[in-house]
Each structure stands twice: as structure tokens, then as C-alpha cells.
Symmetry: C2
Subunit: 114 residues, 2 copies
DNA sequence: CCCATAGTTCAGAACATCGGAACTAGTGAA
DNA sequence: TTCACTAGTTCCGATGTTCTGAACTATGGG
């Protein structure tokens, strides 16, 4: 179990961030982490909506988010502490995270009919 | 050769848009179309940077952009007229395109060292 | 009709993702 | 220490997606 890799702020790449957040599950996970400041275990996220996400898939999702520079993960005893690197991303790509998260919260419902 | 499918504005989905723009080639293509208003042939885009993108790959890229609702394609004689649906996307997901295109233009170069 | 040009579709190889089973790490109790 | 439990990672086979050359379609001009 090798230690985690976290890219430096100046190494953040837009394509990695977009790819990470292009998956609705990952976007939901990241939204939870970003809005709740710091989410502990993966297990608390296992039930997104009504689907159950297997641990191995969750682990892979966290890895993608981590390596895109969206979250920082560190062991805290037996579980994981994940927190969002919103400030880093905002510094490098201003407005990006806000726009994406807004798009997702306004997205699923088909807006007010005009 | 079936006619092209273009999603309606209210059917635009954020994950499709992020997925489409998560590929640097597609992002570059879209940037060209968006900034130049309307790019004709695929062939003018065959050389992005210094790589040559084969026609079949280009065609697939255009399809992804089209089905994400980012561009509208229509035949004009023997070639293709593509134009960006920036207004549609902006209406549905305000600020999203701007933030993404900004991220890409500021992204590739490793920013000013602090 | 024949040819050239612009782009699409097909098919198989290369690559990525999903998820169950096995594994690793930490904690607490006997 | 050893056992058991919990949280997460890694492995690997199945499934799905992307890439790209070759064949095909569509259009316009001799």
C-alpha cells in the first residue's frame, strides 16, 4: 500500500479535473466533501442516491479525485480523512469549481420551462 | 448516413459537457469553433499542435461535441459547417464554458511562479 | 458517368472502468 | 502476542469505451 500521490497546485491540469468530475458519482462524492468540509470514511458515501457503490469502485473514485488534485486524503487511524482542495483549484482555475458544481445542482432537473 | 442528433437546450447534461471537454483535443477543437464563431471543414482542424489527427478520430470527436450539445453541425455542400452553441450552454449552465475555456488557456503553461 | 473531396461507418486492437475476492493496516480486547 | 473486527487498497477477469486504418456515402464539377 504505497503512500498517496497528491499533485502540487501548479501541476493541476484542467483535463484531469474535468475528467474526474465528468462522472456523476465522483461529482456527487466531491460535492459532499466540498460542502461538508471534510468527510471521513468512504463507507459514509457508499450509498449515493439509491445505488450501492462497491468499496473497490469507491476506492478507485477517490484515487481519481485525489490524482486530479481535487481532494487530499490522509489516514486518520483506521479510516480516511478526505478534504476538498477547493482553494488550490480556485487559485489555479478561478471560477471553475463553482461553475461545475452549479451545473450539477441545476442540471439533473430540467429547469423551468419557458 | 443518418441525420445528426442535436440535444435540445433543456436536455443538456453537465456530465456530457465535462466529458466532451475533458479531452484536450476536443477542448482545442471546441475552442477554435467557439472563438472563430464558425469553422468549416474538419480538415482545417486536422493539425492541432504538431500531431495529425486522423479523419475517423476527428469525426468521432465532432460527434461527441455534437451530442453533448456543444456544437451544431450541418452540411453545406460537400463540407461541414460547425458552430458553437455557447448561448444555449450559457443559458443552461451559466459561467461553465467561460470557466472551462479559461482553465484550458491558463492551464497548459505552469502559471507564474509565486 | 467518372473523379475528387469531405466526412461517416465499420471492425479490431488498445485502453479504461467496474466489481468481487483477496489482501493490508490500524485498533481493541483477551 | 494473537485474534477478531473494521476501513480501505490491490488484483484480475469481464465489460465497456476509445482509437484508427480501410471501406463506404454524399456532394459537386467536369
Amino acid at each position: 500500500m504505497r503512500p498517496f500521490f497528491h499533485p502540487a497546485t501548479e501541476d493541476l491540469r484542467p483535463d484531469a479535473i474535468l475528467h474526474a468530475l465528468a462522472d456523476p458519482d465522483r461529482a456527487a462524492i466531491f460535492t459532499r466533501i466540498a460542502t461538508q468540509g471534510c468527510v471521513g470514511s468512504c463507507a459514509t458515501l457508499a450509498a449515493l442516491g439509491d445505488r450501492i457503490i462497491p468499496k473497490s469502485s469507491l476506492s478507485a473514485h477517490f484515487k481519481v479525485l485525489r490524482e486530479a488534485g481535487l481532494i487530499r486524503s490522509e489516514r486518520q487511524g483506521v479510516e480516511m480523512r478526505n478534504h476538498a482542495r477547493c482553494a488550490d483549484v480556485e487559485m489555479r482555475f478561478p471560477g471553475l469549481l463553482t461553475a461545475i458544481l452549479n451545473a450539477y445542482t441545476s442540471g439533473p432537473m430540467p429547469g423551468p420551462r419557458s
